[in-house]
Symmetry: C2
């Protein structure tokens, strides 16, 4: 067995303004790295072989020059990009993890990563995969339905929005990693759910695979407010917000009294400079309709993951929940895959396969 | 004793665009009205002599042509303007109320009003005034600290914002009917509270009468964000929103993680046409700081009034709470007094004395 390997890695070359482009990132061939911990790492470090990497919208704000605080620190030009992924433990000085274990959590955009404390705290052992109890659950799902996007959808819909049977739910970016799950969770909760997406193909997917009661292509709607009025003649009880901007403004006018808005993402705004961000002007509806807007991020709710996993696994196994992934092949395709998110090129959850699980 | 009286009334002449002006309203000399119910009114009606009328910002949206639903129906041109007031019952077919009773609730901008069901449900009997238990509480307070604005401040601060001792609180329109109370409630709750207002006189009032720890005149601040940063170097936990627009945008960037925003009013926006409303562009902070924005209106929380009244009365009686009113004399002064709200001409709670309590 080899004792070293060539470690390729993707770095951020420079801070991004506007839309990210491939030249903002670079794949470095990298050096030979040892396939075990050298002892020079902080105690509790874990060496992993990365198998799947997740492309998520929140990564874009981290690529901007850090002008103000964010909930995640900005990337540093020259450093390896980090994000959620699925990996196999190669060596470990963390007593929770042993070589051979599968984990999901924050790792690097590279072949091998040394994850050091405190980031190791976010590495969760995967116990429901393979030939045992979890047979039939693809490992890649831990970048999505069984990972951060899954818990995001669960917390945002069930905890933040507190849905009641018969309520109306609108989901934007509805075919994405989180949106496709929110739509299905809403259907399971007995809600009437409508989604928006950016192509006819995605709209079809919403209606045929994900069980949305209705869906529309926002790019083909000259008047978003009219589209919402058509889909929700009596108004929207719950809006799961993934996009922001003009869609939020239109939704505000179509909410019902005591409506709830879970603010999960604002992908339409991430590539705009501060002065260019879309104006939201209809906030008077927040008072007249007594709306609640609640921002949230998944790391605040990690303690709910076991509860979520136990709830969602049976639905995955028995086929109740559909889940669509868009898999890019190879670490070298990661920058383009990430960039594609901001142009709506992905269909379903965007991820990158770095290596087969040997 | 006279059996009829001349009833003057203030009508809305036409729907308002932009700032309301005196010519949008008119004082009609009116007709002789009987000083008892005629029997032609709906069962449960109450005839009252109006004593004090309240001028409140929410009345402005009701003066616009009703293009969309609001939580209060629009005024109708030609009809008497309605609003909160304090009145003496003259005659009653409501078993809860007898001639001579004092009430507060929704009444008309006129000398005498016939209040019909279901509006009579909102007439609350005043039991804590005069020589008895409530000695020393001015009747006019039932348009403010003991009325709708008082309950608004209580619900918005204590119920919606759930303050904790030591938290930082920012209040806009802080010398107004609601703001002056929120500031004092925050101080009582052990919070650090800062207010903004539109004149040096008001800023002095905040600091010297209402116990705000600090205050600033927003008209003298070229950069609202910098003013907030100066007053809250470690950020804002709670924002009590009365104004909207540019102030909200600046506040969003200065909120702390898990901050709460009670959206009570947006007075800076009420006189702007739809297309002119100020843009709010910093909503990304709702996610990065996991903020909660909650709109609310007092009528949803009427059931808390007895609890609020019992809590606040001792503080009024023992002088713990200061309360400043701006009293206009006579029904004929009501239009000008209401208009003044939108130019910040009032200092403290704006009300109109229609008649002394005979």
């Amino acid at each position: 067995m080899a004792t070293t390997a060539t470690n390729r890695r993707v770095i951020l070359k420079e801070y991004v303004e506007g839309y990210p482009r491939e030249e903002h990132m670079e794949l470095l061939r990298g050096a030979e790295v040892p396939l075990r911990l050298t002892g020079a790492e902080p105690a509790g470090s874990v060496l992993v072989r990365n198998l799947y990497l997740s492309c998520d919208p929140y990564m874009r704000p981290k690529m901007s020059r850090p002008l103000r605080e964010s909930y995640t620190a900005a990337f540093v030009p020259g450093d390896t990009i980090t994000g959620y992924g699925v990996a196999r433990v190669v060596d470990s000085s963390d007593p929770r993890l042993a070589p051979g274990d599968l984990v999901w959590g924050i790792t690097g955009w590279e072949d091998y990563s040394v994850v050091t404390p405190p980031a190791t705290r976010l590495l969760s052992k995967i116990s429901h995969h393979g030939a045992g109890e979890g047979a039939g659950v693809p490992l890649s799902y831990y970048t999505g339905i069984l990972g951060m996007p899954g818990l995001t959808a669960y917390v945002g819909f069930h905890e933040i929005c507190a849905p009641k049977k018969g309520e109306t739910v609108f989901v934007s970016a509805a075919s994405g990693a989180v949106g496709q799950l929110v739509g299905q969770f809403a259907r399971l909760a007995g809600c009437h759910v409508v989604g928006s997406a950016g192509s006819r193909e995605k709209v079809e997917l919403l209606k045929t695979r994900f069980g949305f009661h209705d869906a529309f292509n926002y790019k083909e709607e000259p008047d978003l407010g009219a589209a919402l009025k058509r889909c929700f003649p009596d108004g929207i009880d719950i809006y799961f917000e993934n996009v922001g901007g003009a869609m939020l403004d239109a939704v505000l006018l179509n909410m019902r009294v005591h409506g709830r808005i879970a603010v999960c993402g604002l992908i339409s705004q991430y590539n705009l400079a501060d002065g260019e961000k879309d104006a939201v002007r209809n906030l008077a509806a927040v008072i007249s309709k007594r709306l609640r807007l609640q921002g949230f991020i998944e790391p605040d709710h990690k303690h709910l993951y076991p509860q979520y996993e136990a709830w969602v696994l049976p639905y995955i196994r028995d086929g109740t929940l559909a889940y669509v992934e868009d898999v890019a092949e190879g670490l070298e395709s990661a920058p383009k895959a990430l960039i594609g998110l901001f142009h709506g090129r992905n269909v379903g959850k965007q991820l990158v396969r770095v290596a087969d699980d040997e």
